[in-house]
């Protein structure tokens, strides 16, 4: 039993880092543009389908395909920002509704082009490592490492670079940042595009691990928002940890309670956190 629990624990961490990468996008977009892009899960789906198409249909090697998928997701994000989100800055309700409209559009497009039948990608990296009784597929470990690295780099970039300082300054006080010469509209667009690129990267790795369907995005945005709120909105490393906590709870919890209630844990967390510790487990950066 204990190795089953340990196995589920590790699986939960992998899924949790995917939640975390979406949560990171949610947290950053909310801090800088004042809206939540609820279509972020669909940008993840764009990345996943792009990578599937480029490797299984166009026969490109996975790293090249993943790179292109990130670019495609970022371009889609840029397009969405310039045509839609630009007009809903700091208007949370409108941003929410516009992104919900966008979800329908992107999902229908995916069903139209790729049908609703799940797609399975060829193995990118086969084989697994065994530690004692537990086996872990290499691709899962690699994905975990890459996602953690991306979150760490984002954090370091925000802490160390000029652009990062400008971003943090803007989150603290938009007017003051503007007076100090931060090009705010470019910054807002940049953050939206970056969050979409992150989602696309998450999607590319997701495609190498699980089967794809056009409806996959809806689940991830919900978990991403839950993880971001769990950790405290504005807390970047917290978003990853929040995602992992959520993923582990779901995986391990499903061993003891009916699997049907898997999606309920996050909801219960969400309500409890907002009621009793609204700043999140680790506190937001406001």
């Amino acid at each position: 039993m204990s190795q089953v629990i340990a196995g589920q624990f590790l699986n939960g961490i992998i899924v949790g880092t995917l939640y975390g990468i979406i949560a990171l996008g949610v947290t950053m977009t909310f801090g800088i543009t004042g809206i939540v892009n609820f279509a972020l899960g669909q940008f993840m789906m764009i990345g996943a389908y792009a990578v599937w198409h480029l490797t299984d249909v166009a026969r490109l090697p996975f790293p090249v395909a993943a790179g292109l998928a990130i670019i495609i997701a970022a371009l889609a994000g840029f397009l969405a920002d310039q045509t839609l989100f630009r007009f809903t800055r700091n208007n949370l309700v409108n941003g929410l509704l516009v992104s919900i409209g966008l979800i329908s559009v992107i999902e229908s497009a995916a069903i139209y082009f790729y049908t609703a039948t799940p797609k399975n990608m060829d193995f990118v990296l086969s084989g697994s490592w065994s530690v004692g009784e537990i086996t872990l597929s290499r691709m899962k470990v690699l994905s975990f490492g890459l996602l953690v690295a991306v979150v760490a780099l984002t954090w370091a970039g925000l802490a160390r670079t000029w652009l990062g300082r400008a971003t943090r300054a803007y989150a603290q006080n938009p007017e003051a940042a503007m007076l100090m010469g931060v090009r705010t509209s470019a910054l807002q667009t940049g953050v939206v595009v970056y969050s979409c690129a992150l989602a696309g990267f998450g999607g590319a790795l997701y495609a190498s691990l699980y089967s794809l369907e056009p409806s996959m995005g809806a689940l991830f945005i919900l978990k991403g928002v839950e993880a971001a709120i769990l950790a405290g909105v504005g807390n970047l490393p917290g978003a990853l940890v929040g995602g992992i906590i959520l993923g582990v709870t779901e995986s391990v919890g499903s061993l003891f309670l009916p699997v049907a209630f898997r999606d309920a844990y996050g909801l219960v967390f969400l309500v409890a956190i907002l009621l009793f510790r609204p700043a999140g487990l680790f506190g937001g950066q406001k």
């Binding site: 007009f87 809903t88 509704l97 516009v98 409209g101 966008l102 329908s104 559009v105 209630f261």
Partner: protein, 311 residues
Amino acid sequence: MTSIGLLVPLYLLPAVTHNEVVLTILIFTFILGIMATGFNIVFGHAGQLTMFHAAAFGIGSYATYLAMVGLKLPFWLALLPAVAVVTALSLLVGWICFQFRLKEFYFAVVTLAFAELARLVVLNWTSLTNGTLGLLVLEKPTVWLPGAGVTRIDGTFAWYWLTLTALLLVACASAILVRSWIGRNLSAIRLNEDLAQTLGINIFRYKLLAFTVSNVLAAFAGALFGFYTNYIEPAYLSVTQSLDAIAMVLLGGIGSILGPIVGAFLLTALPHAIDLTAEVRAATYGAILILAILVMPRGIVGFFRRRPRAS
């Protein structure tokens, strides 16, 4: 009130056309219009973006049917326990949300979480709800008519008149509510919550009232929907159901009496008017929602009205 008068001639429509498609679209419009009218009270007037009305809609239809079968009640009496259940749940969820001062995004997310929890419970309580398979509704509501006695509401014409009457009553009640001091207090809360509180309005109580009223109306719509379609399923509680009502209100015109009904009509009729496949229909729906928000923030009714409304 005058705007509701515009709907009265619809009573004569079955004399003009017997077209089943047209009448069926209108029946769905009337039923969904009731839900949208309810949502308009809590969102359009009190300014609270709730995502709980799908849960109220679904629970309303399940509870009415279960009370009818379990307690052997006629439809209209079976509505009472359903309304009681939805009222109790709304008071609970609303109390939690408003007591902890959840606003905007956080309010939307928490009500969404409660609605999803409700859906999961309905989905998995198979002994009562029959799970994903849903329930087949064989009973119909009955009404007493002068001259005809107790009549079963069956067939398109009967349902048309019943749902139109229900919608008119709900629209009138909602118009009276929002034009009263209650409505003015709700508007005050939407426009400036802190100021409203300073002026002595008990914002907690009024938000809770608006939330509960809108959920009860959604439950009523849900009960009619289940009995009209003869089928109740857990999808009635899904997020898309909530989003539909939001889209109807935004498209038709937020804060107006006629707006939610116009929105309900357009979103019900459009997919039938143009022959579309399911994917294209969903995409059209999304595009309409986006356009409505970016181009016509006050909806169709607001777009054609010359002066912006004062409150």
